[in-house]
Amino acid sequence: MFAAFLQYLFAGLTSGAIYALAGLGFAIIFNASHVINFAQGEFIMIGGMATTALVAAGTPLPLAIVLAILITMAVGMALEKFAVEPARGADVTAIIIITIGASIFLRGAAQVVWDKEFHSLPAFSGETPLDVAGATLTPQSLWVVGVSVAMIVLLWWFFNRTLFGKAMLATSYNRLAAQLAGVAVKKVLLASFALSAMLGAVGGIVMTPITFTNYEVGIMLGLKGFSAAVLGGLGNGMGAIVGGLIVGIAEALAAGYLSSAYKDAIAFVIILLVLFFMPNGLFGKRGSERV
């Protein structure tokens, strides 16, 4: 009984960590620009696909990972530079629709550049499962959770300990004041896309040995990440992490105790409930603000 529960929990934490990274990606771009970037899932896909392609071409895994992250960051920055920035001044809704278009384009490009097949990577440190109180835990799950924690710590350091990170925060709190202090808002926007792309790519790479990847995985992962971000309160970093874990664990439990057919529905049921009862999410601030 307990072993089964633990098994579901491990599965939930693993996918929850990926959703948390995607949710953070949504939050960072939303904070910098108030745009919801629906191409976030494609960053996850590109990270995984690029790594598998590079490894298949004979690149050593560590180098392939670094290159794939850089490629994804370049795609993220290109998306900002050539699709989002030219529309600056347009309605936020229009820019959100642009990101949906970009996500379709990126999926198409992935089919052309790579293919429509599923790809995998070898597990980073072997396949021998660990036994934890009767439940099995694969080493790759530990990689997923560990790398996600490392990314979160890195982000915390960046936003709280570096001047540019603080300038990005300042831009999200008050854009005009940031401009008047000499923060180049265009650079902040570009950096937010680079950072979100990096988070997506890292998530996409570490999950590939477990879940495989193909050109379409970004759709569902992006939506789950979006659910995580909304559940936590859009724009709240801590909220995105907690939201990601809740979505991941809830769907793993649902798959285990109800039916795996309902697995994907869980995230969307949660998001509907949240929007009904707590429109600002778990950690979101109230809609009105003191002036």
């Binding site: 001047l163 603080k166 300038a167 925060l169 300042a170 709190y173 008050n174 005009l176 004041a177 940031a178 401009q179 008047l180 202090a181 000499g182 923060v183 180049a184 002036v291």
Partner: protein
């Protein structure tokens, strides 16, 4: 002249906000810009900082045409603005607000500047690690001024620094402005509190529906019948 504005025109969409503005400010001067609500005072400062594009005309700073320069480059040249309504970063600490004020000064001796700001506004030291949003209105105004001074501006643009403050604090803010001028900073002060602003200003401009209608010495404007009637409520 440190700042020369000629024939400056600005639009919000199709609505014209500024029309042929001519303003000149010499180094070390304290110049006031007064006028009714909606006259275009804030718009003019936004144009000077580059957060609102000019439709026509030129802005020269220290002899250089800056009309098309990005906001951050103008800060680097030495134009800092204290925006209307303070606009401090509420969730960031007082320290971080000040630190970011010196954002464009790479390798700057920030610690020395922090000490200078604390000497000027002692209240900031007691709130040093608190989020700026927890400060009172007057404290936030002081923080906003200190933040702008962290950029070491050659020209300080102040937009309604006395707005919404208690009379005692208003007096303190105006004393601060005078002290800044005495310290050699060039100040362009926008105020609805025209009497107080003109009383400390070397010169003043009166703005009306996007045009400069009168310009003279501060004292002379205070005595001007038209200004008295329209803006001073006398």
């Amino acid at each position: 002249m440190l700042l020369e504005i000629s024939a400056l025109t600005c639009h919000y969409g199709r609505i014209q906000a500024l029309d042929g503005i001519e303003v000149a400010i010499a180094e070390g001067e304290l110049v006031a810009l007064v006028g009714a609500n909606g006259a275009g005072k804030t718009t003019l400062l936004r144009c000077l900082s580059g957060v609102q594009p000019a439709s026509a005309g030129t802005i020269r700073f220290d002899g250089r045409d800056i009309t098309r320069l990005a906001p951050e480059e103008r800060v680097a040249l030495g134009i800092a603005q204290v925006p209307e309504g303070r606009q401090v970063w509420g969730p960031l600490t007082v320290e971080d607000n000040l630190r970011l004020g010196a954002y464009r000064r790479r390798g700057a001796d920030v610690a020395a500047d922090h000490a200078r700001m604390v000497a000027m506004f002692p209240i900031l030291e007691t709130k040093w690690t608190q989020p700026a949003g927890t400060l009172s209105g007057g404290q936030q105004q002081m923080l906003a001024i200190a933040r702008a001074l962290m950029a070491h501006p050659r020209l300080l643009l102040l937009d309604e620094p006395s707005m919404g403050l208690a009379p005692l604090l208003v007096a303190e803010i105006f004393r601060t402005v005078e002290a800044l001028k005495a310290g050699g900073t060039t100040v362009f002060l926008v105020e609805q509190n025209a009497t107080a602003a003109l009383a400390i200003a070397d010169r003043g401009y009166v703005l009306e529906t996007g045009r400069v209608v009168i310009t003279d010495d501060g004292r002379a404007l205070l005595a001007d019948e038209r200004v008295k009637e329209a803006y001073l409520g006398l």
